[in-house]
Symmetry: C2
Subunit: 544 residues, 2 copies
């Protein structure tokens, strides 16, 4: 009877908050001597990594940080950012990874908006970080302690902060008695996404979601015990698709490289017998277009996930020829990274390569841990028919959807409503349940795997004294997938050279956000004066 | 800042109660045409299975059942019990699987204690079930609706209940709009365990635990997409190790066989290309001892889990020779089945076969979804040293520990305390973190994978008019692992033949519980009159 069943409460034996921190406890205990991390000549076993994570947590606590304090990090994929994925939440803090390619102005904004209390920063990023810190209001700056990562691979660079990472953690206790989160809904990470407005929005992850992402990735990608994983995806990007946590769960070996070149990647694959990696299609493109002499001879299949744009058929074919098995996945910063996967279906085995490549370019179906990936007619709130033709918006639901946007209730309730997260991606739904993206509803440009807000870029362009109006749309690009293309209406009497204007952009914004093309002329507008971007999206196809 | 992070609440987009019911939604949607279940000539696709589950849920609702009502089932591993694992909780009900080998008296007890509202019963089990129903108090019996499974494979048996399963679900709606549980802590299943006292205890599972069991099994056993799984473990036993849910998550094909003989198992493996199965060591023993002519020629490795007793070295060796890969797992009814696994370690590769077999007989380490498996000195509450010598009790903690015992607060708080579930198994802890069982603290005998309470069996023996005192202990047995052995002290002036006494037992209790040996004579007792079972356990080793 119901009340008898309900009479049995949770207790510490049968209820443990879901947290990726459980993974490091288990793996460090069971495989202390296995290699956890390889970065050039640096190697740490799981016992060593775990000790360093506990030292970091201990040092953060000693620095006065605790539950709900934000620790920001601006770093390449080096051991320190991996350790931070555990050490920071072990101290109860929230890990705020910041895109290393951002301009100073946005870094400043994130540090202030995110309530940063301590910044771990690779000194190689001083050119943007130093002015970002200088631009902060004095009372904000005063609250931020700074810990430097000084990577010898980058030469002997001057310090930015007060103490080196190694010295900072050396003061910490390698046996620090950290606590699991009391509540699995506790914030774990904060990552800023370009979104659609000019200012980036802070996406908050919780422990439960990251735990389930790892569980679902392991079964959805069918990870073996002890994968050797090459970390290409920047850990600042959706916490590197949560793979820092997932690979820890599987007691893998994480191979870190700083230089994302074909030579470095193939070299790492050959040297360490890499079995798995993930990366944007541009990464796959680097590999398949590299000289054949660089390719390692392997007696096993390397498995790769790719996301950010559908992988072109030619790349899939060449990857298959190299014996690399590629699966496309799809997700957003708001969904902790990938939540749909283009699961290979047995009935595809006998299709032609072209047919297979077409099917593999679909974004697919929900991962095992995800509850719903559907395509909605947002006018009616009904799902579109599964006819492969009717467009709607991709809506997503599950335990790895963000808690919400930090300090932005309005944006949170706009994105999470009626039981769904609204992705802003337009798609069709196929009869077999696979989703295929057709267009983007949000003004986002995806270039080399990075999201760029066109509205943000327009904001920069308006700073030019000659600009009357500006609109930025995506231009397809063979290498980067998409690049920003600017349409600019000049003030009466002004004139500008394209090259001169593009050069001016250089001082205004991060390199990856800079328009690679500019077209001067009147902008198409609605009767109410709204710029008609769909017209520009048509027009951009006619360029070249 | 903490309050900003905490300000982001759960909603229907980012929080979905964890439930194995999610798996059927996804799998039936994505792989409707793949074969879900094979039982002899019966085959159902995932679309068909899902429709039948919804019909069952709909029929239960129409029969007046809902949230927190108990639906009992006494069935062999046929499609109906598989469907019940989803259809029953889809109606909000709790699935109470009952061991088909129990005697009428215990079945009666379970139906009454478990508040059964509807019983699904395979008519092959009429010999125990009919008297069990007759023995129920009239007001209890009046509340129980009965649905018959009539398996043509068992011949044309008379009905027990009011309606056949097929007719019952035929009235249900195959598109029934069932609901997910509102709370992942909601009761999902009720399974009785022999425990240490005379009466079995009802172990309650919740949706969250079963979901995580499936996730953890998939990554711990590294299940591929679409495994072909032969269901040997009875689904009444810890819900068949939760594999009904796990295989649904992986969109596998479930091969059901009723006859657990080497011929039937090898036949199923060959016919359906079975890739995975689980079973007690006695099942492995059946396979390796079968005539070689029965063995199928396979071009792949079959993976097997085994539990209930450490697999003997000879069996492991023969399994390896057949190219079957066996992993021992350990758990209890209270932990949803397996929660530790003897994970193979790379450093074992170069050991001798004997050394490997010894290591594989250890119970191992926590599965990825499980939080803690340790060995405690229960006098001090401290964990024992990891020296492979010091004995303590296995204690377990994690999200797949039961809610508690149904209607038994005292037993619940005795079993779940100080943050641990106390297993009753004595073990040592090795330096590598692996647990190895050394003895049993509880009076439980494990015979052919089934737990037998020695106290319960003693209760039956005391019914014999000539018995003054009786004690039952485990006797090692080559085929069954253990069998019950009775030590009986007769009343003054009485005398009995062993054969006569063992024959009398036949009418008293289920076959698997019956002592296979009896020794007459005075029982060793303490000064306070307590029977010294440890003396009898010594003595039993000297028999034969």
């Amino acid at each position: 009877m119901r009340h008898h069943y309900e009479a049995l409460p949770r207790n510490d034996a049968n209820f443990v908050p879901l947290s990726p921190l459980s993974f490091i406890t288990r793996t460090a205990d069971l495989f202390p001597d296995r290699t956890a991390v390889i970065y050039g000549a640096r190697r740490y076993t799981w016992a060593e990594s775990y000790a360093r994570m506990r030292q970091l947590a201990s040092a953060l606590a000693a620095a006065g940080l605790g539950l709900g304090d934000t620790v920001s990090i601006i770093a390449a994929n080096t051991p320190e950012i991996f350790e931070s994925h555990f050490g920071v939440p072990m101290a109860g803090c929230v890990l705020n990874t910041i895109n290393t390619r951002l301009e100073a102005e946005t870094i400043s904004y994130i540090l202030e908006n995110g309530d940063c209390r301590l910044l771990i920063v690779d000194t190689a990023f001083a050119p943007a970080v130093v002015p970002a810190l200088e631009a902060l209001p004095a009372e904000v700056r005063a609250k931020i302690q700074i810990v430097d990562i000084r990577d010898p691979a980058m030469g002997d660079l001057p310090p930015i902060g007060d103490i080196d990472y190694e010295a900072f953690i050396a003061a910490g206790d390698p046996e620090f008695a950290w606590s699991m989160p009391a509540d699995e809904w506790q914030a774990l990470a904060l990552g800023y996404t370009s979104g659609t407005s000019g200012r980036p929005k802070g996406v908050v992850y919780h422990h439960r979601g990251a735990y389930l992402m790892s569980m679902g990735t392991a079964s959805g990608w069918q990870l073996p015990q002890h994968p050797t994983y090459m970390y290409i995806v920047p850990m600042f990007h959706c916490n590197g698709w949560c793979h820092a946590w997932t690979m820890t769960m599987m007691a893998g070996t994480i191979v870190l490289i700083r230089d994302i070149s074909a030579e470095a990647m193939f070299g790492a694959i050959a040297e360490h017998q890499v079995t798995h990696f993930g990366g944007a299609p541009i990464v796959l493109s680097l590999l398949v277009n590299a000289p054949e002499s660089l390719r390692p001879k392997l007696d096993y299949k390397v498995k790769a996930l790719t996301a950010g744009a559908p992988p072109p058929a030619a790349i899939l074919q060449k990857m298959a020829e190299m014996d690399f098995e590629v699966m496309q996945v799809y997700g957003l910063t708001e969904t902790y990274g990938h939540v749909t996967q283009c699961v290979w279906r047995g009935e595809w085995d006998d299709l032609t390569f072209e047919e297979q490549a077409e099917l593999q370019s679909w974004q697919g179906v929900a991962f095992p841990m995800f509850e719903g990936a559907a395509v909605m007619n947002t006018d009616t709130g009904e799902m579109v028919p599964r006819d492969g033709e009717t467009q709607g918006e991709i809506v997503l639901r599950g335990n790895s959807v963000m808690k919400g946007y930090y300090k932005d209730e309005a944006a949170t309730s706009a994105a999470l409503r009626d039981g769904w997260f609204f992705s802003g991606d337009a798609a069709v739904w196929h009869a077999n349940g696979y989703i295929q993206i057709k267009d983007r509803l949000k003004d986002v440009i995806i270039s080399g795997g990075e999201n760029i807000s066109s509205v943000e870029v327009e904001g920069y362009l308006y700073r030019h004294p000659a600009v009357a109006a500006a609109a930025v749309v995506a231009k397809p690009d063979e290498k980067w997938g998409e690049v920003p293309c600017a349409f600019v209406e000049l003030k009466a009497g002004e004139s500008l050279e394209a090259a001169e204007f593009l050069d001016w952009c250089r001082g205004q914004m991060a390199g990856f956000k800079r328009p690679k093309h500019v077209v001067f002329g009147d902008l198409p507008k609605t009767s109410t004066g709204k710029i008609q971007k769909f017209v520009l999206r048509q027009r951009v196809k006619e360029l070249d």
